[in-house]
Amino acid sequence: MKRVSVDIGGTFTDCFVAWENRYVEGKALTTHHNLALGFNAALADACKQLDVENTTLLSQVDSVRYSTTLGTNALIERKGPRIGVLVTTGFKSTIPLSRARGYGEGLPESEQMDIPNAVRPQPIVPIPMIREVRERVDYLGKVFWALDEEDVRLRIRELVDAGAEALVVMFTNSVVNPAHELRVREIFLEEYPAHLLGAIPMLLSHQVAGRKGEYARGTSTIMDAFLHQTMYHGLGTLELNLRAQGYNKPMLVSHNSGGMAQLNSTDALQTVHSGPVSGVAASEHLAAAAELGNVVATDMGGTSFDIGIVDQGGVKHYDFNPVIDRWLVSIPMVHLVTLGAGGGSIARFDRLFNSVEIGPQSAGSDPGPACYDRGGLKPTVTDADLVLGYLDPKNYANGRIPLNPKRAKQAIEDHLCDELDMNVIETAKLIKRNVDANMANGIATELRTRGYEPRDFTILAYGGNGPLHACGIANALGVSKILAPPYSSTFSACGAGNVNQMHIHEMSTWTVLFNPATKSFFSDYETFNRDVEELERRGREDLLRQGMQAGDIRYRLELDMRYGNQRVQTAVVTPLNRLHAQRDVLALMDQFHKSYGARFGEGSQSPETGVRINTVRVCAYVEQPKVRFSKLKLNGNTRPAPAPVGRRECHFVGLPKAVDTPIYGEDALAEGTQIEGPAIVTTRATTYLVEPGWTYHAAAQGGVWFIRK
């Protein structure tokens, strides 16, 4: 397999190249003005290691895959076209009012609670660019107010005259009857044919999101329209860059659903957060390859801590209404939770409880922690890590960032020590302990609300600060096994190289499997099967359009089910792709019963109040060859620790005195190396902190295990 996968992040562009049996990583700074330059540099870094030319490599690889934060950046910078929106009469303020709670979406809890200071985000669509159209469809899809076509023409004209560069149509209940939205597009094309200069795109909400919920579907469509041009130009430039260097296949783009597709089969919205999601995809593949069982994927960077879940039984965890930037949207996105905890998280004295609070405020990378010596004055997690002896001041981030320990100490003393009446070391330990506990609590909540126990999981720790805090987090959680994965510094890029070409289509439905009032069971198999077939057809066409073979296409049917009038959306993955008999209906209900009981507790099920399917979802995909992870499992073959490259006095939570701690270098990554904690391994990519009570085991391909004794 020859393959290039790339993750373009806010700071670095990571590149992972599979070149037959060799896997190499490349890294370069992201070049925001022209992403292709950063890509070329990262690729060149990898090619140098392989001793091949960029053009040689690109002309031979089977695919180039991207995951990118381009969309996220465009949203933050509000770079996008002026959008006009048509809504059903009566729903004019649905988007601006954002279900009331929109003021706080995407904010830390402390800011959500501070209602007097609430500020909704700057709108993507200002109120004057929203127009109402006379039409209405009911929840079953029946039209009770015919579309007023004259009104449509008038409102489109108004929006175009007001400078709309893209149009969105968001009609109520269009997912169950899209006729009015489709007719609006016909009218639009009659008025503004696509071949004319200045033609602008029109996006229909039912085509972007298939589920009910007018607000979330509306924001999804708006965001898609907003990102469309930026993403198209950004990714289009990258594709042209590839062509110029000899790559003549379609470029593939990672999706936040955990799949990928060609550029011409990608919605802009699907690319947002695709980088972190690729990390979860890589974790999933790694977990299967190394037989890790259940895995919680954690990515601790400078400002945030991402948590993803990989279930060994194949249960997929999605957010159906994730928050992107500050908006709730309606897309099935791989579940990912972000906590405000990273190296740059600021520690502050909590007067109320006479303790230390960590984050969510972050010093970021500019000015960064106090020890960066770039003007940051507040103490951060990285400052505490430095004071405790874990970081090498001269060799941090491969020597790119020199650290000033005096600044770190001073910041901690100035802001915390007097208030706490503690010395700087004890205070730094407290910071470490609290930030690890915060992350552990975040993981525990995530797992337990889904019916899992953290002790049944292996922690996968990646990101710049992941291997540094992994033992502390695991201590707080009661987890005994941690794997810092191979290629951890380019893990998301590696993940992008592992995903399948996949498309998800979903549909809201009113399917009552069991009606307690009439004591009747669902029997309209024809309608159900027709809906599933329709979703399969859409997925199939997506894949055939991209050159996949019909025979290679697989389908996974997922049903969002609920009891009575509950809100819960338990996605049940069912092998029953069609229903033919009452026993199939009972089997579905039984599967839901088990899944619900495992999540919320046996006995919590309420089938007597009725069982319903809310959403039908079909994932159509084609399996692709994967990056091979080998020899990750511990096999008992060990080699002794190499000679330490130095020693430092380090301080550990729970130990009263400093410990003379050996420091190891890159050679500790040699497969089989075993080191008893406490110890520190500093490599080009990261720092591994082996806390007391843990043992370090180097696996193949640069993977590292931490095992609790």
Binding site: T89, G90, F91, K92, S93, T94, P96, L97, R99, A100, R101, Y103, G104, E109, S110, Q112, M113, I115, P116, N117, A118, V119, I127, R134, R136, Y139, F144, A146, T172, N173, K212, E214, A216, D350, L352, F353, N354, S355, R433, N434, A437, N441, A444, T445, R448, T449, W510, Y563, G564, N565, R567, V568, Q569, F600, G601, G603, S604, S606, E608, T609
Partner: protein
């Protein structure tokens, strides 16, 4: 008679009384005490031994994570609309029943009232051989007279025993809605006595060995309109509490009993200490605010809530004396415990939102009321629509506390005018299109407009007055479950603005009808149709008053079928002014509508309201005025008349110089109109309330209370308040009509005589 009793005799008599109680009703000793109980012996021993603050912090984090997990479970599994929109809580209490912590996103109000029923259980059921409290038990409760906000909320409470010792209590509460009251939806405005309020559960055991007792569940299902909801959510609450129990036991296993008991107690005491510290930061003095409720939800009448806040060192005293007396046969009373919960909510929502959400916040505050007033009603009074005074309690802080806080150097949040404080939502009931009986309310209750701030306009429809991050929902999803069709789902209510240098955040119109039901109806439980609800701050305007509009006798679906252009847009003002649907009966009503049947296609229209304005309208930046115009939030008439801005209506370009001159002229005009305070008082102050207004509360002396009872005005000493008995509005109407008939008959007789 010899009334000298020996100590021994008294003890015997007390024992007799304790052993022979007729009815274990709400206990004033419990219900009137909002302070922390003194430390238990165990708590005292643990805290005297000393705890590591940082370990406490860690344990607190674990408890928070557990509460959050249980909250998420209820939110996801719950069937009641309230559960889906976040109107719920999970909490942990000390063994004595003090509420220590709630889930971070839980409704604040619950934090200040869920402890009363637990204190009741501890006091009465623990040692009762017929009840008892043991491992695996669960207790249910909904009657606010025993604690709680109102009877539509149901709680599941569970004791947690660790190694045989009761170490804490756990609970989960949901606003369930339907409770079998005289009107569907759980908040019957028509209730004339507490016996119209539906099921009233004093705290009782409904779970044994961690299992619901089916006989009792059946009894409860039999008592409400929605047995499905009752069963479903009882299971939900039980399993959430059981999950919470598992987590707390894990904490106990890891850190020990002392760490948990000590953390819970210290959390409360630290919070109380911080409260006193913040009170001390404010200047000593007294500030006041008067609020008025303009309806009993059956008739228009003006009820005063009088509040004076006094700061003295670290004491904060809230004096509500002079407030309207309770109603004997109207549902808008509240008991003092529920009212205190509302006060706690307001403090945490609007003044110091960074404080922990726990009852300890209220603990150092002294509250003075007149017994039998509308905010301190006696137990027999109907309280089904206690939301009316409770919502006032939530916002009562904003005006007086911002006066205190304005000059304090460190501010914990923004200086803000009052939020709109009405439950401006449709309450509904009847048969769904799927044949289920239901009754509940819509998520629009969560969209109150925010008050303006000292630095910015208020946010439109941002939250309810009782919680944050609450959800007003998605109508496509609501329409699947109920036959309500939104013709106007969310349209910002143009020109209905609380003006100011910064304007209040606005509310939105809600236009609803029903389709596909054999029997459906609506009610609305709102005031503020005559007297504005949200007050402005430092010169900002109050919000306008809002009415309920109806178009009856039509079927809009048939009308739209016949002529799709019959309605240009579903906009309340246009519909009412232009009356485009022929044959319809258009009416404007106050917002207190008891349950009324809505025939298919009839239209009901209400409005979420605006928060209060901040500062002088003449100081509003003309650019902000133009922005409001561009967003169609206001008309040109108001831009000119109120803000005094000169601009081009087509281009919205402001003539700065002309605007300055106009505003300067207007300031001079104001000065010309001004008069000395004494003269103003002479012209405006009257010795008693106007005769034609049904007025309730004090006038110039808060020890004398006015009321109208049985149609007659009365004045009574505040120490001896009597409840007001209101005539049946229908009887009043009949009397009016009979009077008019008599007049007409007399005129007819005159005519006949003349003829």
């Amino acid at each position: 008679m010899n009334d000298q009793i020996s100590k021994e005799d008294k003890a015997l008599l007390d024992k007799f009384l304790a052993d022979n109680q007729l009815f274990l009703g709400p206990d004033p000793e419990i219900m009137r005490n909002h302070s922390l109980t003194p430390r238990s012996r165990a708590e005292d021993e643990i805290l005297k031994k000393g705890l590591d603050n940082h370990q406490v912090h860690h344990v607190r984090g674990l408890i928070n994570a557990a509460l959050s997990e249980a909250f998420t479970m209820v939110n996801q599994m719950g069937a009641a609309p309230g559960a889906k929109w976040g109107d719920l809580v999970t909490g942990i209490y000390t063994a004595q029943g003090d509420l220590a912590m709630i889930a971070p996103h839980g409704i604040i109000a619950f934090a200040a009232c869920c402890f009363y029923p637990i204190r009741f259980i501890v006091k009465y059921w623990s040692n009762d051989p017929t009840v008892g409290v043991k491992d695996g038990d669960g207790f249910i409760h909904n009657d606010a007279r025993y604690g709680g906000i109102h009877n539509t909320d149901q709680s599941m409470m569970m004791p947690l025993f660790y190694k045989g010792e009761l170490v804490c209590w756990l609970s989960s509460t949901i606003h369930e809605g339907e409770n079998g009251a005289t009107e569907p939806g759980g908040m019957p405005a028509a209730a004339e006595s507490k016996y119209d309020e539906g099921i009233k559960m004093s705290p009782f055991k409904v779970v044994e060995n961690f299992q619901l007792k089916r006989d009792l569940v059946t009894f409860l299902q039999n008592s409400v309109r929605d047995p499905k909801l009752q069963l479903e959510d009882m299971k939900v609450k039980l399993h959430a509490v059981m999950r919470l129990r598992e987590r707390i036991i894990a904490i106990l296993d890891q850190y020990g009993r002392d760490a948990l008991i000590g953390t819970l107690r210290l959390h409360l005491e630290d919070t109380e200490t911080e409260m006193r510290r913040r009170i001390r930061e404010m200047p000593d003095g007294t500030t006041r605010v008067l609020q008025f409720m303009d309806s009993s939800l059956r008739e228009n009448c003006l009820q005063k809530i009088s509040c004076a806040i006094t700061v003295k060192g670290d004491r904060l005293i809230m004096d509500f004396r002079g407030t309207a007396p309770q109603f004997l046969n109207r549902s808008v009373n509240t008991n003092i415990a529920s009212f205190k919960a509302a006060l706690c909510t307001g403090l945490l929502q609007n003044i110091w939102p960074d404080l922990p959400h726990t009852m300890a916040v209220l603990s150092p505050i002294e509250i003075i009321t007149d017994r039998n007033s509308i905010v301190d009603a006696e137990g027999e009074m109907p309280q089904a629509m206690s939301l009316m005074p409770l919502f006032k309690g939530c916002v009562v802080w904003t005006i007086p506390m911002n006066k205190f806080n304005y000059s304090v150097p460190h501010k914990y949040s923004a200086v803000i005018a009052s939020q709109y404080d009405q439950a401006a939502t449709f309450i509904y009931g009847g048969l769904t299109q799927h044949g289920d009986v239901t009754g509940n309310f819509c998520g629009d209750i969560n969209g109150n407009g925010q008050g303006a701030r000292s630095h910015a306009d208020g946010e439109h429809s941002v939250s309810p007055v009782f919680g944050f991050m609450c959800d007003s929902g998605e109508h496509e999803i609501n329409e699947e479950d109920t036959p309500i069709i939104r013709l106007g789902a969310q349209r910002l209510a143009k020109d209905r603005i609380a003006w100011g240098k910064y304007r209040g955040g606005m509310g939105y119109e809600q236009i609803a009808t029903a389709r596909g039901s054999a029997l459906w109806g609506f009610m609305t439980g709102c005031e503020g149709s005559k007297f504005p609800s949200a007050q402005g701050l430092f010169g900002g305007y109050s919000c306008p008053s809002y009415q309920l509009m109806k178009i009856k006798g039509i079927n809009i679906f048939e009308e739209l079928k016949k002529d799709p252009k019959v309605v240009e847009v579903f906009d309340i003002v246009k519909l009412m002014n232009e009356r485009p649907i022929k044959g319809g009966k258009y009416s404007s009503n106050d917002m207190g509508m008891t349950f009324e049947v809505c025939n298919e296609g009839e239209i009901y229209m209400i409005c979420q309201g605006s928060g209060g304005g901040y500062g002088d309208v003449l100081e509003r930046d003309p650019a902000l005025v133009m922005k409001d115009l561009r967003e169609d939030l206001m008309s040109h008439e108001n831009a000119r008349d109120i803000y005094k801005v000169v601009y081009d209506e087509k281009t919205l370009v402001v003539d700065e110089d002309a605007t300055k001159k106009l505003r300067d002229d207007y300031r001079r005009e104001r000065i010309r109109r001004g008069k000395p305070f004494e003269q103003f008082c002479k012209e405006w102050v009257t010795p008693e309330p106007p005769k034609d207004i049904p007025y309730f509360g004090s006038w110039d002396n808060n020890r004398e209370i006015y009321a109208t009872t049985m149609g007659q005005r009365v004045k009574m000493p505040a120490e001896q308040l009597q409840g007001a008995f209101m005539l049946n509005p229908k009887d009043v109407r009949i009397m009016q009509l009979e009077g008019e008939l008599e007049k007409v008959k007399a005129q007819l007789d005159d005519c006949r005589k003349k003829a």
